[in-house]
Symmetry: C2
Subunit: 195 residues, 2 copies
């Protein structure tokens, strides 16, 4: 069991309806020691890859992305969300459905901040349906840039996001993959990983 | 002229209506070298203060807050925004009007993440009307915690936020204070500061 799986077992809260709350260390209060370990582990897993930019999506992904950008010494771009966006020539736009909020957002990045030379590592704290990550890969590709990979802290393996993204051929590195959880017994099954 | 004032002059864009766009290094694309310098300068200015927690508000404040939390080795909490919040016993809530978006948001922090023992440094990337910062001080005080100070990267001295906050007796440290700007001549006047 790795540091993040241990932290989830210690501090995560399982709720009915396959909801895992980790807002005491990952997406409301942020445990900076865990952030450092997550960023170090992404550095280790993507070592040897040329990365020119980190891309994430507001809001909670920004914490991990900032520490990782600091370690890799590259700029960070965060995609913005909006219910309505004027799709104009200045922005790359895509749609993303949020499992947490049950809403569809327009996600956009200014064209000035992605170029076809960019080698982009996409990161986020949490992935369920994978809709936000697919929107970000779409945006990177609209820019003609390269998706180096996708780094996720916690993947809900119960939902289909991970499978869709892996089938599309992206390199997806999730530090903890939750394959099942049970609110009644307060148990979580993590997927076994080699690395 | 300090590093941030130089960066604003070099990369900021002045638009009609007293709008200063800094989204190429501060709040859409993030220049990690500038973030490090901002965090180091906050460390210097608040040196000697006991700080147990960094508080910011989503989304763009999270980048500065994360690097600062890393340097100070304390947890970070980011307040969330919502158009509608069930004001319940779990959250501290306050209202904030956004000058940028012309909307009023409910801002909230889970009660679990602020306690009366906390000494809180509030930080954000940008301040105009000061409404978000007043909402955060309100939330800290609802928790019975102490506001150590407020650290802002860019204060629009043209608007009244800074004056209101200083009059209330909070220690406000803004790294660059824009006292006037002119879109036609592309000039910015910064307030002289001692430190």
């Amino acid at each position: 069991m790795n540091f993040l799986e241990e932290k989830i077992l210690k501090d995560g809260i399982i709720k009915e309806g396959n909801i895992l709350k980790v807002d005491n260390f990952l997406n409301h209060q942020i445990d900076i020691e865990i952030m450092k370990q997550i960023a170090e582990e992404f550095c280790r897993r993507f070592k040897g890859e040329e990365i020119t930019k980190i891309l994430t999506i507001e809001a909670s992904g920004i914490a991990i992305a900032s520490i990782l950008a600091l370690y890799l010494n590259v700029p960070l771009v965060f995609a913005k969300k909006s219910h309505s966006v004027n799709v104009d020539n200045d922005k790359y736009c895509a749609e993303a459905f949020s499992f947490t909020h049950k809403t569809t957002n327009n996600v956009f990045v200014s064209k000035r901040y992605l170029s076809k030379e960019d080698k982009v590592l996409i990161v986020d704290d949490f992935m369920a349906l994978g809709s936000a990550m697919l929107a970000l890969t779409n945006i990177v590709e609209q820019a003609g840039a390269t998706v180096v990979g996708i780094g996720i802290a916690i993947e809900k393996g119960i939902q289909e996001g991970g499978e869709i993204i892996r089938k599309k051929g992206y390199r997806l590195e999730s530090l903890a993959i939750v394959d099942s959880m049970d609110a009644a017994t307060r148990t979580i099954q993590f997927r076994k990983q080699d690395c």
